[in-house]
C-alpha cells in the first residue's frame, strides 16, 4: 500500500474523499483552512467556502438530509458561530453521514481564545473523535461518517493545530463509496426534521437513548485501546497528548481514546482497576478527567499538567518529575537559553499593505477604532497603535454602534475586512442603519481573505473550486441595507481616505467608507510592484515616514547635517511602491511612482 507523508489537514481531506463525502463546506480559519483547500482538488467532492461557519454547517446538514455524505469544517471559534446548527443537527439526525471538523488552537497560534470544543460535543450530545496523527485523522473521517449513519446523528472530529500542521506517514486508499446511479429522492419526514416544540419533545429522549448506544459502542471501538506494561502507572489520554505521554512514559500502561466523548465507562473502570495510579494527560481542559471522576474513580490530571497552552514532551516530562511520576534523573539536561534580548520578528503589516494608509489616516484624525479579525488587526501594534478593540469575527460594527449609543463625545469608527463583513458584519451594519447611530464603518476591501492565505469570498468573483461567479457590489449592498452616506476610495490615496472620513464624521447618522485596494501579495498586485527611493538631499531625518511602520523603510547610516538624525532609506527588495510614505513626507523626499516610471521610460 502506498504511504505518503501528509499533514493532518491533508489527511482529513483525503479521508473525506476516500469515504465518499459528496458535499463539504467551510469558512477559512487557522488551523483548519487547508482541509477544504486540499479537498477542492478532488473533482468527486463538491467543496465550497461559505460566508461563515453557520452557513457552512447548514449546507452540510442539508446535503446529509438529502442523502449525501457531508462534512463541515471550522476552527474552534467557528463552532461558536455554527453552534445553533450544531445543536439542531444533533436533534434531527440525517439521512447520510455528517462529520463536523472542529480545529482547536491550543496556545492560540492564531486565535483569540483556546476554548476546548470537546465541551460542545457533550453539550449537544454529539460523539467526539480525536486523532493522534495523520493516519488516524484520515481513518477517523470514515469512522465518523459510519457512526453518524449507524446512530443517526452528527459526529465531531476534533483536531488541534499540532495535528493539523504536523506531517506523518499515511496509507492511502481508494474512494470507496459508490455514487448513486440516479439523483436521490428527498425523503420527507416532518416529525423528525421539523424541530417545533412538539416534535423536539419527542426527539429529545431519542437523542439521550442514542448517547447510551454510542457509549455501549465505545466499549468495543477499536480505536479505544489498552496498551498494558508496568502497572504502577496507568495513563488515559487522546489526541496528540497521547504521543507526548507515550514518549515520556515508555513503560506505563495506556488507555488511548480515539473517542473522547462519550467515554467507555467499563473500559475505564477495568483499566483503573489494573493500575496502581491513574492519571489523565490531555491538552486544555480537564475534560476526560472530569468524566472519569464522575464515574467515582480516583484520578489525577490537571493537578499535574497545565490547563493553559499547548503540551509538549518537555512540559509533560517536567510536570511528571515534579509530581513524582518520574525520577529526578529522568530530566533532560538543558543549557540555559542565550536567546534573551535578541531582536524579535513580531507579525507586521506587510510592505504595501493597503490597510496601512487607512490607519495612518485614522491616527491623524485621532479616531477611536473598534477593530475586527483579519490582517488589519495588526494595526493595533506600535508604532501605529491604531486599533482599540478586537473580540471576534464581525464584532467591530456592533461594538462601535454600542459605543455610539453610549453617547461618547467623538464619533468612533468600525474597521472590518471584506470577508469578515460577509461573515458576520452584515447583520451588524443592518442594525446600524435600522437603529440609526453615528457610526462610521470602514470596509477594508482588499479583494481576498488575506490572513488565512488568500481564499476566495463572495466579493472576489470566484469560488473555492475556481469557478467564475457573481462578485457582490459593496456599494449596492450597503445602500440596500439603508446606509445613505457611502464613499468608495482607493486605500492608497491618503487624501481621499481622509476626505471621505471627514465627510462622514461631520454629518449625522451612519456612514460607510469602502477603502478598496487589493492585497499587495495578490498576483495582480505583484505585477505592479515598483521600488520607490529616498532623495537624500531632501530628507532631513524628521522621521514622519518611520511612523507609517513599513518594513521597507529604515534608518540609513547617513545623518542629516543640521538635525543629526538618521535619514530614511527604502529597501528595494521589500518596497512595492504603494506611496503611503511618499504622501506623508512633507519635504517631498520620497519619489512617487510617476517619477520612477518616468525615468524608466
Amino acid at each position: 500500500m502506498k504511504k505518503e507523508l501528509l499533514a493532518g489537514n491533508q489527511a482529513v481531506a483525503r479521508g473525506a474523499y476516500e469515504s465518499g463525502v459528496r458535499v463539504a463546506a467551510a469558512y477559512p480559519g487557522t488551523p483548519s483552512t487547508e482541509i477544504l483547500e486540499n479537498l477542492a482538488r478532488y473533482d468527486a467532492v463538491y467543496s465550497e467556502w461559505a460566508p461563515n461557519e453557520k452557513v457552512a454547517l447548514d449546507v452540510a446538514i442539508g446535503a446529509a438530509y438529502a442523502g449525501s455524505r457531508a462534512m463541515a469544517v471550522m476552527k474552534h471559534v467557528g463552532l461558536n458561530v455554527a453552534a445553533d446548527a450544531f445543536f439542531y443537527a444533533s436533534m434531527t439526525g440525517m439521512e447520510a453521514g455528517l462529520v463536523i471538523v472542529s480545529a482547536d488552537d491550543p496556545n492560540m497560534y492564531s486565535s483569540q481564545n483556546e476554548q476546548d470544543n470537546r465541551h460542545y460535543a457533550k453539550f449537544a450530545r454529539v460523539p467526539c473523535l480525536e486523532p493522534s496523527d495523520s493516519q488516524e485523522a484520515k481513518d477517523l473521517v470514515g469512522v465518523a461518517l459510519s457512526l453518524s449513519e449507524q446512530f443517526d446523528g452528527p459526529v465531531m472530529l476534533r483536531v488541534t493545530t499540532r495535528i493539523c500542521h504536523s506531517n506523518t506517514l499515511v496509507e492511502l486508499g481508494e474512494r470507496t463509496a459508490q455514487e448513486p446511479p440516479e439523483p436521490p429522492e428527498y425523503r420527507i419526514d416532518r416529525s423528525k426534521y421539523v424541530m417545533v416544540p412538539g416534535n423536539a419533545r419527542r426527539r429529545h429522549p431519542v437523542i439521550e437513548e442514542r448517547t447510551r448506544q454510542v457509549q455501549a459502542f465505545a466499549e468495543t471501538f477499536a480505536l479505544n485501546r489498552v496498551e498494558m506494561d508496568d502497572t504502577s502507572l496507568g495513563i488515559v489520554t487522546g489526541g496528540v497528548a497521547y504521543q507526548y505521554a507515550r514518549e515520556v512514559f515508555p513503560n506505563a500502561c495506556f488507555l488511548k481514546l480515539g473517542m473522547t466523548w462519550p467515554l467507555p465507562e467499563q473500559m475505564v473502570r477495568e483499566f483503573a482497576g489494573r493500575v496502581d495510579r491513574l492519571i489523565v494527560v490531555e491538552e486544555l481542559d480537564s475534560f476526560i478527567e472530569d468524566e472519569i471522576r464522575l464515574m467515582g474513580i480516583e484520578v489525577e490530571g490537571k493537578g499535574i499538567f497545565p490547563i493553559c497552552g499547548e503540551l509538549d514532551p518537555t512540559i509533560v516530562r517536567q510536570r511528571a518529575i515534579e509530581a513524582g511520576l518520574l525520577p529526578q534523573d529522568a530530566a533532560v539536561p538543558v543549557r540555559p537559553s542565550q536567546a534573551q534580548g535578541l531582536p524579535a520578528r513580531p507579525p507586521l503589516l506587510c510592505p504595501g499593505c493597503p490597510h496601512r494608509g487607512v490607519f495612518v489616516t485614522t491616527n491623524k484624525l485621532k479616531l477611536v477604532v473598534n477593530g475586527d479579525i483579519g490582517c488589519y488587526t495588526l494595526g493595533f501594534l506600535p508604532p501605529l497603535s491604531a486599533l482599540h478593540s478586537c473580540g471576534c469575527m464581525g464584532a467591530s460594527i456592533g461594538v462601535a454602534h454600542g459605543v455610539s449609543k453610549a453617547g461618547i463625545a467623538q464619533k468612533n469608527v468600525a474597521v472590518i475586512g471584506d470577508s469578515t463583513f460577509f461573515h458576520t458584519g452584515m447583520p451588524a451594519l443592518l442594525n446600524v442603519a435600522y437603529n440609526q447611530s453615528d457610526t462610521v464603518v470602514i470596509i477594508m476591501d482588499n479583494r481576498t481573505t488575506a490572513m488565512t492565505g488568500h481564499q476566495q469570498n463572495p466579493g472576489t468573483g470566484k469560488t473555492l473550486m475556481e469557478q467564475p461567479t457573481y462578485a457582490v457590489e459593496f456599494e449596492a449592498l450597503v445602500r440596500a441595507m439603508g446606509i445613505q452616506r457611502v464613499h468608495t476610495v482607493d486605500a492608497y490615496r491618503l487624501a481621499d481616505v481622509e476626505a471621505a472620513l471627514r465627510d462622514c464624521l461631520e454629518a449625522d447618522g451612519p456612514a460607510v467608507v469602502i477603502a478598496r485596494r487589493e492585497c499587495a501579495l495578490l498576483p495582480v498586485a505583484r505585477k505592479q510592484w515598483v521600488t520607490l527611493a529616498v532623495d537624500e538631499d531632501r530628507c532631513n531625518g524628521c522621521g514622519l515616514c518611520f511612523r507609517v511602520a513599513c518594513p521597507a523603510i529604515s534608518k540609513s547610516d547617513h545623518l542629516d547635517d543640521k538635525t543629526q538624525r538618521a535619514k530614511a532609506r527604502i529597501d528595494p527588495l521589500l518596497c512595492t511602491g504603494c506611496e503611503v510614505c511618499a504622501q506623508v513626507c512633507v519635504r517631498r523626499a520620497i519619489s512617487f511612482r510617476e517619477e520612477i516610471e518616468g525615468e524608466e521610460v
Binding site: 497560534y109 506531517n167 506523518t168 507526548y244 507579525p347
Partner: protein, 201 residues
C-alpha cells in the same frame, strides 16, 4: 556522533527564505531512507518575514511530532539570527549548521536593536556546543548561479552528517521538490554545500 536509531532535526529560518522547502526535502529523504518520519511546522500568524521553524524526527517509530528541549541532534538554520533562538533545544554534543544569510528584522533596520555580529553569534552557539559550522551559503549559491538555492547548499553540508543516507536519495528528492527548470542549479548547490561542509568550521 550519528545515532543509528534516528535523528531529531530543528530547521529554522525566516518566512520566504525556503525553510519549508528544505524541511520538505529533508522529510522525504528520511522517508526514502526507510525511517518513520514526523515533521511539525511551528509558526504564528501568517506573515511575510516572520520566524519559521520546523521540528523533524527520523526513527524506527516516532511518537511525538515535537522534539523536547535538549533533545535536538542537529539544528539546521538558514539565517544567522534565527539559529540563536533555538540553542537551548540542542542536546549536549549536538551540531549546529547555519547558512550565513543575514535578514535584519524591522527593529534592527529602524535602529532600535542591533543585529549580533559573527563573533557574538559564534560565542552564543559555542556555549551550547563545540560542533558549530557556518556555511557560506549565499556565496556558494551565487557561484552555482542562483542565490535562492542557498537552502539546498545548507542541506548539502548537512548530508555529510548523515552518511547512512546515499547521495542518490538526496539528489532524487531534491529533483522532485524544486521547480523543473531549477533542478540543475539545485543539484550543483547541493554538491557545493557538501564539499564546503567537509571543510567548514
Amino acid at each position: 556522533m550519528i545515532k543509528t536509531t534516528g535523528m531529531n532535526f530543528l530547521l529554522a529560518g525566516v518566512g520566504g527564505q525556503g525553510t519549508l522547502l528544505a524541511s520538505n526535502v529533508l522529510a522525504h529523504v528520511g522517508v526514502r531512507a526507510g525511517f518513520d518520519v514526523k515533521k511539525a511546522e511551528v509558526h504564528g500568524m501568517a506573515q511575510r518575514g516572520g520566524s519559521v521553524s520546523s521540528h523533524m524526527r527520523w526513527g524506527e517509530r516516532i511518537y511525538s511530532p515535537l522534539i523536547g528541549r535538549g533533545e535536538v541532534d542537529l539544528i539546521v538554520a538558514f539565517e544567522k539570527l534565527e539559529v540563536l533562538r533555538y540553542v537551548d533545544m540542542l542536546r549536549s554534543g549536538g551540531t549546529v549548521l547555519v547558512g550565513d544569510m543575514c535578514i535584519p528584522p524591522l527593529s534592527v533596520s529602524s535602529g532600535s536593536d542591533v543585529y549580533p555580529d559573527d563573533a557574538q553569534i559564534r560565542r552564543i552557539l559555542g556555549q551550547a556546543t563545540d560542533d558549530v559550522h557556518l556555511i557560506p551559503s549565499i556565496r556558494l549559491a551565487e557561484e552555482v548561479g542562483n542565490v535562492r538555492a542557498h537552502n539546498i547548499v545548507v542541506l548539502g553540508a548537512l548530508s555529510n552528517r548523515i552518511p547512512q543516507v546515499s547521495e542518490a536519495i538526496w539528489l532524487e528528492v531534491i529533483s522532485e521538490w524544486v521547480p523543473k527548470r531549477f533542478v540543475e542549479v539545485n543539484r550543483d548547490a547541493f554538491q557545493a554545500g557538501k564539499t564546503a561542509g567537509l571543510s567548514a568550521g
